[in-house]
């Protein structure tokens, strides 16, 4: 790599909104890790993703087709962008787009664009639909669940799992139902929004903890940062959080990475019961939106991922600072209609 030329990294997930994508936080961490010799190419889906207009965060943004448009459309668009920008690394940050990017991995590699993503097998094993079996296989505590396609199946779920039930959409959203009527309402709402199956999960009460994890693909956890949510929005997102020092959580994450040989970033969503038992509620196959906290506490996961993607071998981090707090805030960024017009009309800004 020519050290005089900036490292060019493409990043998705620029929607820094109330349910934020991780892109802006990933870029902030990359800029911390690589300094000024870096060029960030934003990849956006919608015209009002705030990151598009934050020019000290993103150097240039290109719109890309929605995942539903398919792999060929994405490949074609990336070839156009690559011809202009000479991308060296691409970091996707949305669950829904990962399937296409994983499939495109070999093509991107041939183009000279590195990625650092889980395999399709790893990606699918931790899917909500397979999570309980995944936990059983690897000795991880995961609440029991059922994937259902008919509202009538809720009766069996209630009988087997007891109330309250957690009714979850295929991709996003979860509703806690205390009665059959609430469960049925949640079933219809979530199936209309996300399709089938609906996942019905045993309710676990406790403290919500998330763990940001970076695996090297060989079974080693390069970085593990546990965070307790201090302030939770009505969408269940952490609006403030604090890093924790807890060997149980670290060991849980190590077990997960060793069992799966996970490659790339991910987030374990944990519920820790009053007795201290950690249950894995979900595994998100990408960095979380609070990922900058890993850099702030001493383990810059996005920068470490970028280095590994570009061929470096890293030793696992061994220390971080507990008690580091992030507090998210809202800020009215001002732009001009000319910029909105450019991204809307030309698909780049």
């Amino acid at each position: 790599m020519d050290s005089t030329k900036p490292l060019v990294i493409a990043v998705t997930g620029l929607n820094a909104i109330d349910s934020p994508g991780p892109g802006v936080a990933v870029i902030r961490a990359l800029r911390d890790g690589f300094g000024s010799n870096i060029r960030i190419i934003g990849l956006s889906y919608e015209t009002l993703e705030p990151g598009i207009y934050l020019h000290d965060v993103v150097d240039k943004t290109y719109q890309i087709p929605y995942p539903s448009a398919g792999i060929d459309a994405l490949s074609s668009r990336l070839q156009y962008i690559h011809a202009k920008e000479n991308l060296q690394l691409l970091i996707p940050n949305f669950d829904a787009e990962l399937y296409n990017f994983i499939k495109l991995g070999p093509t991107l590699k041939n183009m000279g664009i590195s990625t650092f993503l889980p395999t399709m097998e790893q990606f699918e094993a931790r899917d909500k639909i397979n999570l309980y079996q995944f936990g059983q296989k690897h000795g991880l505590s995961v609440p029991e669940d059922r994937a259902i396609y008919s509202v009538h199946d809720l009766y069996t779920c209630a009988e087997k799992l007891g109330y309250p039930l957690v009714v979850k959409g295929k991709f996003y959203d979860a509703i806690v139902a205390y009665t059959m009527e609430q469960a049925q309402k949640a079933f219809h709402k979530l199936s209309a929004k996300w399709g089938f199956p609906i996942i019905v999960q045993q309710f676990i009460s406790g403290t919500e903890i998330n763990v940001a994890v970076l695996g090297d693909g060989n079974g080693n956890a390069i970085s593990i940062i546990p965070m307790r949510k201090l302030y939770i929005t009505d969408k269940g997102k952490a609006w403030a959080g604090i890093t924790l020092e807890d060997d149980t959580l670290i060991e849980l994450a190590k077990t997960f990475v060793a069992a799966t040989k996970w490659k790339g970033g991910c987030e374990l969503e944990i519920m820790r019961t009053a007795t201290g038992q950690p249950f894995i509620m979900e595994i998100n196959p990408r960095f979380p939106a609070w990922i900058y906290l890993t850099a702030a506490s001493g383990q810059n996961q996005p920068a470490a991922l970028a280095k590994m993607a570009l061929g470096e071998t890293l030793e696992p981090f061994t220390t971080y600072t507990s008690g580091k707090i992030f507090i998210r805030y809202a800020w009215d960024h001002i732009t001009d209609i000319s910029e909105f017009q450019q991204i809307s009309g030309l698909g780049e800004l």
Partner: protein, 80 residues
């Protein structure tokens, strides 16, 4: 009675448990006692210090001490 090793306390009475992320505010009296506990001073010696320094009788101190201990346990701040 031992505080967990990783519990952080300040002279101002702020208590932080890095394992759970919980934080607490102690009043000046509790903060002083916590400092003594962290220094490894025995319960009997701490009670003696308090009795000599403040206008409180032994039975009242014992009742308050029991209450204080319950709060520390509830806060998950004590070694088992």
């Amino acid at each position: 009675m031992n505080l967990k090793k990783n519990i952080a306390t300040s002279e101002a009475g702020f208590i932080f448990n890095p394992s759970t992320g919980d934080s607490f505010s102690a009043n000046p009296m509790a903060a002083e006692i916590l400092m003594h506990i962290k220094q490894g001073i025995s319960i009997e010696a701490i009670k003696k210090i308090v009795l000599e320094k403040y206008d409180v009788d032994a039975s009242q101190l014992d009742r308050d001490w029991d209450d204080f201990t319950i709060q520390l346990k509830e806060g998950n701040l004590l070694e088992n």
